[in-house]
């Protein structure tokens, strides 16, 4: 486990990581227009990180990304999600009210009824919640595999 994989695998993983990340964030950002959403896109981005963890040495990966950044990703995603839901209460609506929909501002463009017109700037709080859940899932699934890899390593070294 202390060895890394061959140079071919590592280079392929490094190149594919960029495309996987871009595709995952595309799924997250277009969650209110196309199939997908926060959970699915976040899982795809976390798959890219897991590919890096598996292909490279753990020390090298921890040099590039810190454990703490994944933890803060997860926590900030959950806080942003619940905060968006709670933000409707001071504005005079009920909990989970979609107060940005149709307001004209951020994500507030009115959507024409009928066939999907593909306007990204619609759906009110739904894209914000998608992004929050995506950040949370990407941090959570990556940190699970990171913890498990650290546990295997410390076990193999005889603690």
């Amino acid at each position: 486990m202390s060895d890394c994989m061959s140079k071919l695998v590592r280079t392929t993983a490094d190149v594919m990581f960029l495309f996987i990340t871009v595709f995952g964030f595309y799924i997250v950002l277009h969650g209110h227009l196309t199939p997908g959403g926060g959970f699915q896109g976040g899982a795809i981005v976390a798959g890219g990180f897991i590919l890096l963890i598996v292909a490279n040495r753990l020390e090298d990966f921890l040099k590039w990304f810190q454990k703490r950044s994944f933890q803060s990703c997860e926590v900030s995603g959950l806080v942003l999600f619940i905060g968006t839901a709670l933000a409707a209460i001071p504005l005079g609506y009920i909990f989970f009210k979609n107060f940005l929909n149709g307001a004209g501002g951020l994500f507030g463009q009115a959507v024409p009824f009928g066939i999907n017109s593909g306007i990204l700037n619609t759906a009110g709080t739904i894209p914000i919640m998608n992004i929050a859940v995506g950040i949370e899932v990407l941090g959570g699934l990556s940190i699970i595999v990171l913890y498990m890899t650290s546990g295997i390593r410390s076990h193999e070294e005889g603690e």
């Binding site: 997860e74 995603g77 959950l78 999600f81 959507v111 999907n116 859940v133 959570g140 940190i143 699970i144």
Partner: protein, 94 residues
């Protein structure tokens, strides 16, 4: 005697489930009021063109809060299970 009772229960249960599955037609009577409401009003009420996302993140937002909390709790459990201890004395709690 005990195995006979077990077999008897299994046979009765199997006959009952098969009878239910064969005789009652699937999806009848059609209770499609809520589906029709979502399909008719989801686009204008939530602004999302994806009906599934509008249900998951708007109509049933409490469910999604629960899912996010479950994921957070799962990560917390894994982090407790796989925590790295440097020395043997770290096992002791104060």
């Amino acid at each position: 005697m005990r195995s006979l009772a077990v077999w008897f229960t299994l046979v009765i249960l199997g006959i009952g489930l098969l009878f239910t599955a064969v005789t009652i037609p699937f999806g009848s009577p059609a209770m499609s009021d809520m589906d029709d409401y979502f399909i008719a009003h989801g686009q204008e009420q939530t602004g999302a063109n994806n009906i599934v996302t509008s249900i998951v993140f708007d109509f049933r937002g409490f469910d999604t809060i629960g899912e996010a909390s479950v994921l957070f709790t799962a990560v917390f459990g894994v982090s407790v299970l796989f925590r790295v201890r440097k020395k043997e004395e770290d096992y002791e709690y104060e």
